[in-house]
């Protein structure tokens, strides 16, 4: 940033192109941003996976401790969010793989896909958790 010709001291102020904030939010744009945020969240979330595996490899008491944290209301909230981030990123990624073939890039189609991504990820997350609770009960 500091080396940019637009901000270097002594340079004449040059007009900058319009940036993010001048645009009205549209579904495809929001899904693009959310795809990146969920990707970053999944990155940090690998710590949860690592901690769980290490706990299982350590001892019964340590595993019960970590399992207890993950099973608390806060732990479940985080894991619910983690499930959604994974499924959302997966559906968003599928969309990108479709776009890689050069299809479904039209305005109407991509907007429909954006809505399908969010609707699909929320639905699948709820289904995964229902399945999880059914497994627990059975």
């Amino acid at each position: 940033m500091s080396n940019s010709t637009a901000t270097r001291p002594g340079m004449r102020q040059r007009p900058l192109s319009p940036h993010l904030q001048v645009y009205r939010l549209i579904p495809t744009m929001v899904m693009s941003i959310v795809h990146r945020i969920t990707g970053a969240a999944l990155y940090v979330g690998t710590l949860l996976v690592a901690w769980w595996l290490i706990a299982a490899a350590t001892s019964e008491s340590y595993f019960e401790f970590v399992n207890g944290l993950y099973g608390s209301w806060f732990g479940r909230l985080v894991l619910f969010g983690y499930t959604w981030a994974l499924l959302h990123h997966m559906l968003g990624g599928l969309r990108h793989l479709v776009w890689d073939t050069g299809t479904a890039m039209g305005k109407e189609t991509s907007t429909k896909l954006a809505w399908a991504t969010i609707a699909g990820s929320v639905t699948l997350t709820v289904l995964v958790w229902i399945a999880g609770y059914m497994a627990r009960g059975g």
């Binding site: 690998t46 595996l53 299982a56 490899a57």
Partner: protein, 127 residues
């Protein structure tokens, strides 16, 4: 003089960074692999919900589960390392901080991978 590139460079098609479309391709390859692999992981967690220490260890120690989980880790970590590198390069403009974060990004991915694989092997070999 319209094109300064040598014929060899043109044939190789690797561009100035010398790795061509490798990163682009690897990100697609791991994306495709991640779909079945992570669905398996989600299914495993559903099945293990509410399970105790012994059951979790018996499941994780199963050779098939163990091997697939290693694939989940490798494919997932390669994919997320590329993704985070791209995020860093997009938003961090200071050259020194950028390089430091790109290095830390690689360290993080390897640390998580080595720790998880070691834990899985320890369980699998009954340690």
């Amino acid at each position: 003089m319209s094109d300064m590139r040598t014929p060899l460079a043109k044939v190789r098609g690797l561009g100035s960074a010398k790795d061509g479309t490798d990163t682009f391709w690897r990100q697609r390859l791991t994306a495709i692999a991640n779909i079945p692999l992570l669905l398996f992981f989600v299914g495993l967690l559903i099945a293990l919900n509410g399970a105790g220490y012994d059951e979790v260890r018996a499941t994780l120690g199963n050779p098939f589960v163990s091997l697939v989980l290693v694939l989940v880790l490798v494919s997932g970590l390669v994919h997320m390392r590329i993704g985070m590198k791209e995020i860093i390069e997009d938003y961090i403009h200071d050259e020194g901080i950028k390089i430091a974060l790109v290095v830390l990004n690689t360290f993080f991915a390897f640390a998580i991978g080595v720790a998880c694989v070691f834990a899985l092997l320890k369980i699998a070999f009954g340690g």
